[in-house]
Symmetry: C2
Subunit: 314 residues, 2 copies
């Protein structure tokens, strides 16, 4: 299928890798030619690393790279596409205008998806004649390393569009979750916010350090979450499954959550302690280098998950 990436920044350039890896033609469009060059140079760097981890479906990096082309003309980029993925800055006026252009110029059969995390699809898709074929497909960046994609319909998105977008994402090796209706923060940012609020409270109230909280998640809770998710985890944590778990532990959880009814200012005094903790473990000048480490660990984790699913079951 031919696809278009609308906006070739940090998010768009990562989508391009995911789409091309699946064998799709990828037309990258950006107003800024430097962004297009940077996106293609980025792919040149990432594709061999993915191949080395077995995350390129057996394709040669050069063959994947050859599917990508840069475009500054929007109509040209959209010509004949089946899926267009918009990844412009998070401004509602900009997205409204851009989606008007997309809806005008893309083939009537094309799915028009936004990568937004901050805006509801209804806030910039309502006015479109083709709003039934528009929705949000929100990645955790970069999607070529993080399978989950949030597929979020506006009230006007057709069920066929949702199914087509989810199917396209599955074909790209993503694992789409399909929301039934839109809500601020979708699923992932809401869950992350819920967890982070309690992380900041615990440090602000002097119960633990940021590192101690990180230990509890990375060497504790998130191990099972990383291959089961929270519902399957509790389903297996009581003899009678999830209903039994709720009966045994709901009162305890309700009591704990009743103590979480206030928030602390993340940028207040607690930030001095958190930043000092982090800086002691990672000098601030090494953040970019550590991001490279993170992506290598993510690639290795994905390779492990695939191997474990094949050997042990999923």
């Amino acid at each position: 299928m031919r696809t278009a990436i609308i906006g070739a920044g940090l998010v768009g350039r990562a989508w391009a890798i995911s789409f091309a890896r699946a064998g799709h033609e990828v037309r990258l469009w950006d107003r800024d030619p430097a962004a297009l060059s940077a996106a293609l140079a980025f792919a040149d760097g990432v594709l061999p690393a993915l191949a080395a981890q077995g995350l390129l479906r057996g394709s040669e990096p050069s063959a994947v790279r050859a599917l990508m082309s840069p475009h500054q003309d929007l109509a040209e980029a959209l010509s004949g596409v089946g899926h267009a993925q918009e990844s412009a800055p998070e401004r509602v006026d900009l997205k409204r205008a851009l989606f008007s252009e997309l809806d005008r110029s893309a083939p009537p059969s094309a799915t028009l998806a936004s990568s937004t995390s901050a805006l509801l699809p209804s806030s910039f898709q309502e006015h479109l004649q083709g709003r039934a074929r528009c929705l949000v497909c929100h990645p955790i960046n970069p999607p070529y390393l993080v399978p989950a994609i949030e597929v979020v319909p506006s009230p006007w998105t057709s069920p066929e569009t949702v199914e087509r977008a989810a199917g396209f994402m599955r074909g790209c090796g993503q694992n789409p979750l399909t929301m039934k209706r839109e809500i601020d923060g979708f699923i992932m940012n809401r869950l992350q916010a819920a967890l982070l609020e309690e992380c900041f409270r615990l440090v602000a109230d002097g119960y633990a350090s940021a590192e101690d909280v990180d230990i509890g998640v990375r060497d504790g809770l998130a191990l099972r979450w990383s291959f089961m998710g929270p519902f399957e985890t509790i389903d297996l944590n009581a003899p009678g499954g999830v209903r039994d778990y709720a009966e045994r532990y709901q009162a305890m959880c309700a009591g704990l959550s009743a103590q979480m009814d206030r928030r602390v200012d993340w940028s207040g005094p607690v930030m001095d302690a958190i930043e000092a903790d982090r800086a002691g473990r990672l000098p601030r000048g090494d953040l970019a280098e550590r991001q490279v480490w993170r992506d290598r660990r993510l690639m290795a984790l994905l390779a492990h998950k695939r191997a474990a699913a094949a050997a042990i079951g999923d």
Copy 2:
């Protein structure tokens, strides 16, 4: 070092494996001889599986197993121990009485640790003459597969006791997090409760299915959390680190958490939907078999994390 396991049920028998794997002598005590037999039979089953995954530090299963002995006499079990780990049922009267016995019978230099997740150490350790050497070391079961241990002092626990318990846990291959003071749910159950409350709300309010929530965590959020934790994750998610992240995203998170100011009844109508979803993926008769699968995946994940830390860095 000689150690004692006080209460050989689900938690105690798992601690025995962690302690013996580190080369410690383990005296298992239980009032119920059947529990002692079951604990040793359990070890006979688990140790070869750990060895196969390289999680036995190169020891032979039989050598680890030989370090364990069953005891029905408490004074005998505690004779000469450096660390005693209580894993009795979660009843405060029972733990108060048991700790009185432990404090009377264990060598003065021994650390007395409880595995409780539901009780604060102050609620059953205040009355003890040796309360300075008492604390909580709370595992996520089983500790031989989940490194994180919550080390929780009561107001009377000495700093030396905290340091000694944490050092002992490190020696057992655990990764202890040290709380500065006690709070209901410690760190891990609080964070899990915060996340679960929003999971149940999202399903109850019709935004997503249980499986879609699980996808968002297992193929999204928890990938990075499983090797970095939440604070390092956000430290790497803004160009200027964690302070920059707070400045960029605090307003969004505050807005989301303001929408989370009510809870839904987990055992109410939402449970029908969640249980139906889970049962469709895992027939209720297969829960025990799936727990075996979970532990095999956990072992493989741990082996992966060690290999990745060695190859890529930690």
